[in-house]
């Protein structure tokens, strides 16, 4: 037998809600659901009929079973499905996390060198400092919020995009040139203060940034 497919979440919820009604649904309650989901009227009616019969049968059917210490083969098979599904769900979540990390939009990505220099000027920092911002080399939680807002305005990007950009892991620009034989590894992120102190800024620029 092929696995039985599942209904849309809204219809599944309706089935659960009908089943959780106490006492079992009557004409009035079923009509409420049919009015809400007219496209599923036949399914809801069919379900309600089965539910009413099942509940009537259950009223007198509460056997007491002895304690169970062994796991039946049916439960073992269900546990196997649980583990397989859990593995699949975790794997999908991991793939999605990697994908989302990879596709986190870099609001600096489309800027030319000239534009980067212009932004550096307007922010009153060096190009080296702007590159650190671009390459996400500064810890976002050490960066003043006003400064992040200022950057968003300069880039004409939503503040959420800029915040997400700084929160993402550091990245190496694909166009970056390097002298070593091997591609340099991405270093760990600096604090805002460390970045300010190591970007060739004048004492006045440093003082301004650290006062934000």
């Amino acid at each position: 037998m092929a696995p039985v497919t599942r209904d849309q979440p809204s219809l599944r919820d309706a089935f659960y809600q009908l089943s959780l009604c106490e006492p079992v649904p009557d004409a009035e309650i079923l009509e409420e659901f049919v009015d809400r989901y007219p496209e599923h009227a036949a399914a809801l009616t069919e379900f309600a009929i089965a539910l009413v019969l099942d509940a009537a049968e259950d009223a007198n059917d509460q056997p007491v079973d002895p304690p169970s210490t062994t796991t039946s083969p049916a439960v073992s098979r269900a546990m196997s499905r649980f583990h397989n599904r859990l593995y699949a769900v975790k794997k999908a979540a991991a793939v999605q996390a990697i994908e989302s990390e990879r596709t986190t939009k870099n609001p600096f990505a489309s800027l030319s060198r000239t534009e980067l220099r212009a932004i550096a000027q307007r922010l009153n920092v060096t190009t080296v400092f702007v590159m650190k911002l671009r390459d996400r080399q500064i810890l976002s939680d050490t960066m003043p919020q006003d400064f992040q807002r200022q950057i968003a305005e300069e880039l004409r990007a939503p503040i959420e995009v800029v915040i997400a950009h700084f929160a993402a892991p550091p990245e190496m620009q694909p166009r970056a040139h390097f002298k070593a034989d091997q591609k340099p590894k991405i270093s760990t992120k600096q604090t805002f203060e460390e970045a300010v102190r190591s970007s060739g800024l004048t004492p006045a620029q440093e003082k301004h940034l650290l006062s934000l």
Binding site: L30, F33, D61, F82
Partner: protein, 262 residues
Amino acid sequence: MPRVLSKRDRNGNQYTRLRNIEIAVAAALAQDIPTLCRRAAIQDRRSPEYLPSECLVHLIREAHRRDDKTTMTDLLPPLLERCRRTLDRKVSDRIPNASVLRDEILGQFSELFADDGTGDSPDELDFYEVRFNSAFRALRINLLRREKIARKGHAKRYAPLPDVHEVEPTSDDDVFARMSEHLRTPANQENTLALKNLIEAIKSLPADERDAVVLCHMMGYEVESEDPNKATAATHCGVTGRTIRNRLRRAAAKLSRFKENG
């Protein structure tokens, strides 16, 4: 304090756990795994040590949120064992592929725990923390319904049949009056067997007759109405009122014979 549920009832109100479940959950959260495993294996609801299924669902979900695979693997099997016993009782061997269907229902239920917090219905298990048996009944009935549809290849269920001949009027009112009385009578040893037999008899009627009986005599629908906007057994089944009455008469004749034989 157990986590608040997010699913809502038909009136839009957030579901809440029953008071006794809240208390049981709070107590269980303070117990160690060996104690919980021992309690989870108890099937007798009257035992003071019995761990309600709603409570087990909560504990397994919390373990999932903590990524505590050991607790999940310890507590899910006893819950599945309870469900298996229910399925053995409720999915009759007369249904084609009964054992495969039981496996499918149990498997889909176990997968809800793996899917919890993800996918298109991340809080589906909330229903199971409110009233476990009712929620599991919904899953079971729905899967059986879908399997039946798949088996029949989406055949129109309520194909209206021509009323070739009118069934002779019989005193079906008496049969349904007795039936209603049986259904209303509180459960006791005396009527337990009679009620069980009655429900079995209704379930064994042809689908169109069974549906007419349930809609009219268990759910309170009128056979038909002059008001075209009013939902009736006839509108639900997509047939005329006369057809419904014929189905009810045929059903009454069978139920009456059943009573005499029973």
